[in-house]
Amino acid sequence: MSGVTHAAPPRWRRGEGRKALLWMSPWLVGFAVFFAYPLAATVYFSFHRYDLFTLEFIGLDNYRYFLHDDRAWVSIKNTLWLVVFMVPAQVLFGLAVAQLLTRLKAGSGFFRTVFYLPSLVPLVAGTVSFVFLMNPSGPLNQIIELFGITAPDWFGDKDWAKPGLTLLAMWGIGNTMMIFLAALLDVPKHLYEAAAIDGAGGWRQFRSITLPMISPVLMFSTVTGVIYALQYFTQAMIASRVAAGVTDSPGSSFVPGYPELSTLTLPQWLFHAGFRDFSMGYACVLALLLFAASVIFTLVLIRRFRTFADGQGGNP
């Protein structure tokens, strides 16, 4: 190389910069309005006593209260449980169903529809139906008891409530399953043929061909699943309300997390603090925690998947 630089004149560069900013402006406005401002506001309010109307600076009091708030810690544990158990269950079940559907010779369309349909059911309606189906004398328990097994009180027993919610999540894997199905059908057939000629069995083919080839989709499903689990709210709230048989009459109160706080998730406690107890400053502390957890989980997962894909020679 001659070493001759072709740096653009500063004026031209400035013009390009303005153009770039102009083209980026829709995104920049969106970023500022929907991310930067809410984040700054959340941090700001977390140092205040804020009841939605009046604002008073209280330093770290909201953070100190968090350290001694048993319910916050219970909700964090429950949320982590969902991340650790519900997300893998959802992803693996979705993958398994998709894998089975790729092997079906006939009726594939019918089964795709059957497995996809539950994801179209509105969350509230689906959850209410599920709780009724799984109530102590409901049809699911009657079937289980036909086999001589004492069926659990799914949403009334603290040990079974979260597994109950996991089953509900698995029932609604339609979207995940469709994404996996598309990815699986996209894997070139000749790779399997070559592997089979080399003597690779089914498991070996799955581990060495399927998994690396679908790893971007696997990562997408896992990351979105984790974020979804960290924000888990509606189903837990509805299931506990229906199972508890709560009322809304004057003087009545609903304790989220029924039974025994087993379904209390961090977003529920956050919502409760902000909108039921008017402690918006404290709710901001919980929101920041949730945000930090989402960022950390996402970064760790992306890193792990990259390592996995690199190790397998895939192309994430």
């Binding site: 604002l55 102590p136 048989g245 004057p250 003087g251 009545s252 109160s253 304790v255």
Partner: protein
């Protein structure tokens, strides 16, 4: 330096935006700030349109509200009242924050009254109550208590709920309703029918605090249990009445067997349906509100039942006849465009006997003023009269206003669920923990 300018400007803008969004906009002069019109004669108020938000949504309820407002329209023909149905508390709060408050708003519950009074979400009615010479002593003490906080009366009671005992006459087998907790225990055991394996078929009384209306606030008046000390801190751990109530309740739960009782309770379905276990003869006695009379009339017209005040602690016969009360409240939100006219509407709906009786007859809730309770136009039978008497009883109580009302009741309710299932080893320690939770939260909320 010039590079820092955009950053500083952005920071200043953000700070300004953050602080600006914390206060609701002032849309109109505060109630009572203007000179009072000469009397409340219709001609003294200018023609205007008022918007009234309420929580009722069923067609019959909406019509009842329309009928009650019709009298106001006659009195103030130049004022148009626009009713907006099915509005919840959070919508009211958000509207006030956003500077789009209605002129008048009502809420089904009293849980948010303290917060609304303290934050100024609803305007203090004290000046106009004084100006208009309204005598609040016509309201029971409990109703006065649940409509004010820290000296600010920011809402008025519209209709009230009172709680008592419903009993199925056929299942009672000629027994009179119990007057004391020990009589309730005895009768509950006597009337309970079990299958051979101990499964409950018919319960005399379901003592679970998780059953429908048996929540802490509704049962506390049975023993005169106190929620707060005068300084607003929790009195739950120090008031022996709570312990007495809890020990009585646990003894009856254990007699049923918690698991059996819980299984039975969960088999009973939804409270707000025509399959209510009381209608179906599955429970002989239940704690419920006066509104159940109207529901029974429409959903189980043939049910032969009676009503009575709730049983009370054996050593407190003076409490018999009292109970829990709370109810619908109504006020003028901050930023109401026509506060004076709005106050006239609130005043009419909460003090005019005809309006209250019209609403009560249609909704079958208890009217709040002495005159409306005694009005010959008020439709009542023996079963409804029970609740009118409970409401008017001098010892009838409510959950006193607190900025953490919801949190505090939930903290207690959560404890009660653990208590009845036997998860609490030491009652004193458990109640002290409830106190601590409530008091810690009180500090965070600025006590």
């Amino acid at each position: 330096m010039h590079r820092r300018l955009p950053i500083l400007a952005a920071a200043a803008l953000t700070a300004a935006a953050l602080t600006a969004c914390t206060a609701g906009k002032e849309g109109a002069p505060a109630l009572g700030a203007q000179p009072r019109p000469s009397g409340s004669a219709s001609a003294t108020l200018p023609a205007t349109t008022l918007e009234l938000w309420h929580g009722f949504s069923a067609p019959a309820e909406v019509k009842a509200f329309e009928d009650a407002v019709a009298g106001f329209r006659q009195k103030f023909p130049q004022i148009t009242v626009k009713l907006v149905k099915g509005v919840q508390d959070d919508q009211i709060t958000q509207a006030v924050r956003g500077g789009k408050a209605p002129d008048v708003a009502s809420s089904f519950t009293t849980d948010n009254v303290a917060q609304w009074c303290r934050s100024g979400t609803f305007q203090d009615l004290t000046p106009v109550i004084r100006q208009d010479g309204i005598d609040l002593s016509v309201l029971p003490e409990a109703s006065r208590a649940y409509t004010e906080f820290e000296g600010r009366r920011c809402v008025m009671p519209l209709l009230a709920d009172a709680y008592g005992l419903y009993y199925n006459k056929a299942l009672m087998k000629g027994n009179a309703p119990p007057k004391t907790l020990s009589e309730l225990t005895e009768l509950a055991k006597k009337l309970t029918v079990r299958d051979a394996d101990g499964t409950i078929k018919v319960a005399g009384f379901i003592p679970s605090f998780q059953y429908y209306e048996n929540v802490a606030s509704h049962v506390a008046p049975m023993v005169d249990a106190k929620w707060y000390n005068p300084d607003g801190t929790s009195a739950i751990g120090s008031d022996p009445a709570w312990k007495r109530l809890l020990r009585w309740q646990k003894e009856l739960v254990d007699w049923y067997g918690y698991d059996k009782l819980d299984r039975f309770r969960k088999s009973l379905g939804q409270e707000w349906s025509a399959d209510h276990p009381f209608y179906k003869g599955k429970v002989a006695m239940v704690l419920d509100g006066e509104w159940r009379n109207a529901m029974i009339a429409s959903e189980a017209g043939n049910l032969d039942y009676g009503t009575a005040p709730l049983p009370v602690a054996d050593d407190r016969p003076d409490l018999y006849g009292s109970g829990f009360t709370a109810g619908t409240v109504i006020g003028v939100p901050k930023g109401a465009k026509n506060p004076q006219a709005a106050w006239e509407l609130v005043k009419y709906l909460t003090t005019d006997t005809s309006a209250l009786v019209t609403l009560s007859n249609a909704l079958r809730n208890v009217p709040t003023t002495k005159a409306s309770l005694e009005s010959p136009d008020l439709k009542k039978d023996d079963n409804f009269q029970t609740f009118i008497d409970v409401f008017a009883h001098p010892k009838t109580s409510t959950v006193p206003s607190s900025v953490n009302s919801v949190f505090n009741q939930e903290a207690m309710q959560e404890f009660l669920a653990r208590w009845e299932m036997g998860s609490i080893e030491d009652l004193d320690t458990g109640l002290a923990e409830v106190d601590k939770r409530i008091n810690d939260k009180l500090k965070l909320s600025g006590g």
